[in-house]
């Protein structure tokens, strides 16, 4: 277990800056998620920490020691790749054993650790198979097994669930959370999926265009987004963002209101419009209302709300939960 610190780290590819000077402190045992849209630099940042890319400037400290120039293998980190990167010509056993073999551990140790990892990950029955004979979820477990046998000081996950189908993704997400609880290891997890970020993270780092938008625990980001970008990115369905007169009324360039902070009425309220879509999820209903001059606004209602396309509804925001942003997209104090 180790702490990881980035000091003024930046990265350019051929004159194009993909990571602008960035500071980040990751504590021991913490699970930090880098989240952002594709191309925001989150994977590059992970690869800089892994040592697969060289930083253009700045410093990387692992447990307080400068690791900026260390080759990847010497940093004591393990990585789970998006494609799993299993060695296709090796059995599951040999895949998991590979890092130990490279570290020249003795045969008994290797055997013991592989068996232990297989037990934890439920892979005992597949040890002699080749990767191509496994399902997506099993491959994912092998990749994780290969990462844990090294007993790294930190785990790096690069979009590990993006190649799995939806149901499996939810399962693996829980498994990874469980694994992190068991091992208590420092973990950096990269994803573009804000749900994954919200459910897994101790702290989330939201990245956009190579810059950090906000760092904080999931609920803090949800409750107090520091920027318009974070407000729009975190939370599902998305926060309603309104400009123009509706916003200037509150002295802001843009205001944001989450669907659950709107109350519905069939007779009165701040805004009204016709229902364009009602998504009945069972526990909740998300109602999309076309408000003249403002666009479509989503609101959460009770699951048993009986509302149909074309009906007229009134919406009223809970003003205590209103988010206000200035013209640069920065949050204004409440």
């Amino acid at each position: 277990m180790a702490s990881i610190a980035l000091k003024n780290v930046s990265k350019s590819f051929g004159g194009r800056e993909v990571i602008a000077s960035l500071d980040l402190q990751i504590e021991r045992g913490e699970l930090v998620v880098f989240v952002g849209p594709s191309g925001c630099g989150k994977s590059t940042l992970l690869r800089l920490i892994a040592g697969l890319e060289d930083v253009s400037s700045g410093q990387l400290l692992i447990d307080g020691r400068d690791a900026t120039q260390l080759p990847p293998a010497w940093r004591g980190l393990s990585m789970v790749f998006q494609s799993y990167a299993l060695y296709p010509h090796m059995s599951v056993r040999d895949n998991i054993a590979f890092p130990l073999k490279m570290a020249r551990r003795d045969k008994e140790t290797i055997e013991r650790k592989v068996t232990e990892a297989a037990r934890v990950l439920n892979l005992q029955d597949y040890l002699d198979r080749k990767p191509r004979e496994l399902s997506g979820g099993q491959r994912q477990r092998v990749a994780i097994g290969r990462a844990i046998v090294r007993e790294p000081v930190a785990f790096l996950f690069d979009e590990p669930l993006s190649n799995l189908d939806a149901a499996l993704r939810v399962n693996m997400r829980m498994e990874i959370a469980e694994l992190h609880r068991q091992l208590g290891a420092t973990t950096i997890y990269v994803t573009h999926d804000q749900t994954e970020a919200m459910t897994l993270a101790d702290r989330i780092v939201v990245l956009n265009a190579g810059r950090v938008e906000q760092i904080g625990p999931p609920l803090e980001l949800y409750r107090r987004p520091a920027t318009l970008f974070v407000a729009g990115f975190i939370g599902s369905p998305r926060m309603n963002l309104l400009g123009g007169a509706a916003a200037s009324r509150y002295g802001a360039a843009t205001i944001g209101i989450r669907p659950e902070h709107l109350s519905l009425s069939t007779s009165e309220g701040r805004w009204h419009g016709k229902v364009s879509l009602a998504e009945h999820l069972g526990s909740d209903t998300f109602v999309h209302v076309d408000v003249a001059g403002l666009g479509t606004i989503a609101a959460r209602a009770a699951g048993d709300l009986d509302v149909r396309h074309g009906e007229t509804l009134w919406l009223t925001p809970d003003e205590s939960c209103l988010h206000r942003f200035d013209a640069q997209g920065r949050a204004l104090a409440a």
Partner: protein
């Protein structure tokens, strides 16, 4: 009912396909059959298909009276030699193109391909004269060099398309797992690249074995490969069908078998990965 008509359909397809396939294969079959006939039976009218006196006399005579073995050795040395030498130069080149791509990678690959399109006759005169003055004319070394050069673009391209399919993630995973460059090569790269290297070698041996422009123009009797050896049968005095067939069978058998083994890779190799 649907099953019965499916089966009948399959039977029809099977018989049509076999008739066509045998017709296409017939010249080879006929050559092999003729090689086991006496010279008299070989030219008999009507032709004798299976019911003739089988003899291995022709093989014995080809073996005893001609320099078959020497030409065979030449063919092996030239085709295997030029392919191995080519691999030696093409592997690092393809490796660097596949794993360290730059802005010029595409241009380099296209240019290499363009050299393969240079017609051999365009450079026949200078190569002939250069070889003459360098004493390489009619030597195996000379042919190894020429065939290596003429197939080098194909080798680089073939290897490139195979190497490109090795995911970069896997190389990075190996680095993360603590493999030194040497061990990365030994445990990860070699096992994954070997099938591609093997099929490149195989296809180029086949191409070099059958190459017949440079082998006919740059060699005379002594270092001639089997292509040249068979060409010498075109002289009227050499015209004995059974012996010609025996010599031909000996010349094509090894490479047809190799070809059967590599037919799948052949498509990729000869289309530069455009068809897989």
């Amino acid at each position: 009912m649907a099953r019965a008509s499916d089966n009948r359909h399959k039977l029809l397809v099977t018989s049509v396909a076999w008739v066509v396939a045998l017709a296409i294969f017939f010249p080879i079959l006929w050559t092999v059959l003729t090689s086991f006939k006496t010279e008299g039976a070989a030219v008999a009218i009507p032709p004798q298909f299976l019911f003739f006196d089988w003899t291995t006399q022709n093989y014995a005579e080809v073996w005893a009276r001609t320099d078959y073995l020497r030409h065979f050795t030449n063919s092996v040395v030239i085709s295997v030699g030029s392919s191995l030498l080519g691999l030696f130069i093409a592997i690092p080149a393809a490796w660097s193109l596949a794993f360290s791509p730059t802005r010029r990678t595409r241009g380099v690959l296209m240019w290499m391909l363009s050299t393969k399109m240079l017609p051999a006759v365009g450079v026949l005169v200078p190569i002939y004269l250069l070889f003459k003055s360098a004493g390489l004319l009619d030597t195996r070394t000379g042919l190894v060099i020429v065939l290596m050069l003429s197939n080098l673009p194909i080798m680089v391209w073939m290897l490139f398309t195979y190497f490109k399919e090795i995911p970069r993630d896997i190389l990075e995973a190996a680095r993360m797992d603590g493999a030194t460059p040497g061990r990365e090569l030994l445990y990860i790269l070699a096992p994954m690249a070997l099938p591609g290297i093997a099929s490149t070698l195989l296809l180029n041996v086949i191409l070099a074995w059958n190459e017949s422009f440079w082998t006919l123009n740059l060699t005379a009797a002594s270092t001639g490969s089997l292509t040249a050896f068979i060409a010498s049968f075109s002289a009227p005095e050499g015209l004995f069908y059974a012996k010609l067939s025996a010599a031909s069978t000996l010349a094509i058998a090894p490479i047809v078998v190799l070809g059967w083994l590599s037919q799948k890779q052949l498509v990729r190799g000869l289309t530069f990965g455009a068809v897989k």
